[in-house]
């Protein structure tokens, strides 16, 4: 289980973000030492049309893009509206706020501290990962999805 002592924070923007803006903010966050995990959240953009008479057709969408964070390619599957961060120390919150201030210039945003990520496995987590699940995976990716999290080279 994720240790409760790691502080977490949540960034919520007034608008849903374009992939370019997500790339910008993630690159700003990636260079801040002390961020353990980042979850990007928002409404899903499916690869294929999920319902209706056109079900199964390809779904070209500019929001479903590949962005580059540091040296790693990240495939976006959602239109990002919320970022959850797990930090090693509370001291870096001011740096996160600074990064947000530089990127989100045209609309407002909020940075809140609290507990936002899952700390105990759900039934689906247990079914997928078993009793010895890697704690760091919990709440990081959808357990039903085959693709895992993206690892970004850190500073340590």
């Amino acid at each position: 289980m994720t240790e409760a002592e790691f502080p977490q924070c949540r960034i919520v923007t007034e608008r849903l973000l374009k992939p370019e803006t997500v790339e910008k903010i993630l690159n700003k966050l990636a260079v801040i030492p002390g961020i353990r995990r980042i979850v990007i959240n928002g409404p899903s953009i499916p690869q294929k049309v999920p319902y209706g008479p056109a079900r199964g057709l390809d779904n070209p969408h500019s929001g479903r893009a590949t962005i580059r964070v540091g040296e790693t390619d990240v495939d976006l599957r959602v239109q990002v509206g919320t970022l959850l961060l797990e930090l090693e120390t509370r001291d870096i919150v001011s740096q996160i706020e600074e990064a947000c201030k530089e990127v989100f210039t045209n609309f407002s945003y909020s940075v809140k501290e609290g507990r936002f990520m899952r700390s105990t496995p759900t039934q689906v987590d247990y079914a997928k990962f078993g009793p010895d699940a890697n704690e760091i995976m919990l709440g990081l990716v959808d357990p039903k999805n085959k693709t895992g999290p993206t690892l970004i080279q850190g500073h340590k």
């Binding site: 923007t13 007034e14 608008r15 849903l16 973000l17 374009k18 803006t21 409404p43 899903s44 953009i45 499916p46 049309v49 999920p50 319902y51 209706g52 008479p53 056109a54 057709l57 779904n59 070209p60 969408h61 500019s62 929001g63 239109q79 509206g81 045209n106 609309f107």
Partner: protein
């Protein structure tokens, strides 16, 4: 004494807009000019220029039974020709879209004949005979009931009306049926999400001031707050009170 409908209570601009949309004597304001061919493309029910497929022979040919109601009610053009029943569906953003599902249904019931509207929380569908539908759709898209950015024409996968807007002011659409390009909104897919051969331009998104002045939705953050309309509050409280007391002693 002749009855004059009031259409709805309220003193706010939102209430006034609601009354204007519902009242069939008020002409809807024409805002844009999307051609009939483009509307056929967005609807996606038939190819432009194709004859209307039929569900039954024209009424004149099929021999109507002797029925007093049929003598009173004149059939619409679509019914007369035996057209199929087809639909258009709209999703209206909560951020000051010009209309909203209940309002759309009231408006359409006051203004059009031979329709079957379906009202849901985030979307509103209207079903009718195909050639009637195209005429009604042209009205709904070309007038002040529509905004290219805050209203979506979505036959399926409508999710987005209550979500935050995108950075460019467009309502979220997981199928991205329309895109903002060069300041105007263009449909690249029809209402169910099948890609179109050509982009259909539906005009410029309206600015925030226009939307705020022409919306029929209350919104305490971006528009007119519901609580600022005392008459509306009084009306809704009266309805609530009567509904609650009803069955016990429905008197005021």
């Amino acid at each position: 004494m002749a009855y004059t409908p009031q259409y709805g209570p309220g003193q706010s601009v939102v209430a006034e807009n609601r009354r204007k949309q519902m009242n069939p004597n008020v002409k809807l304001e024409k805002m844009r000019n999307v051609t009939d061919e483009d509307i056929v493309l967005i609807l996606g029910h038939r190819a432009p220029g194709q004859a209307y497929p039929t569900a039954h022979p024209p009424l004149a040919e099929q021999g109507e039974p002797d029925c007093p109601i049929r003598k009173i009610v004149t059939p619409t053009d679509g019914a007369k020709a035996g057209d199929r029943v087809r639909y258009i569906q709209f999703a209206d953003s909560v951020y000051n879209a010009p209309s909203q599902p209940y309002q759309r249904t009231y408006t359409e019931m006051y203004r059009y004949r031979g329709i079957d509207p379906g009202t849901l929380s985030g979307r509103q569908i209207i079903e009718c005979r195909e050639r009637d539908l195209e005429k009604i759709s042209a009205d709904l898209i070309n007038t002040n009931l529509f905004d290219p950015a805050r209203v979506g024409i979505r036959g399926a996968t409508v999710h987005g009306h209550s979500l935050r807007l995108a950075e460019d002011g467009m309502m979220f659409d997981m199928l991205q049926r329309c895109i903002l390009e060069g300041g105007t909104v263009k449909y690249v897919k029809d209402q169910i999400g099948t890609p179109l051969d050509k982009k259909v331009d539906v005009g410029k998104p309206m600015d925030d001031a226009w939307l705020k002045a022409n919306t029929t939705m209350f919104h305490s953050l971006v528009g007119t707050a519901y609580r600022s309309d005392a008459e509306y509050i009084e009306y809704i409280q009266r309805i609530h009170s009567l509904r609650t007391k009803y069955g016990f002693m429905p008197v005021e």
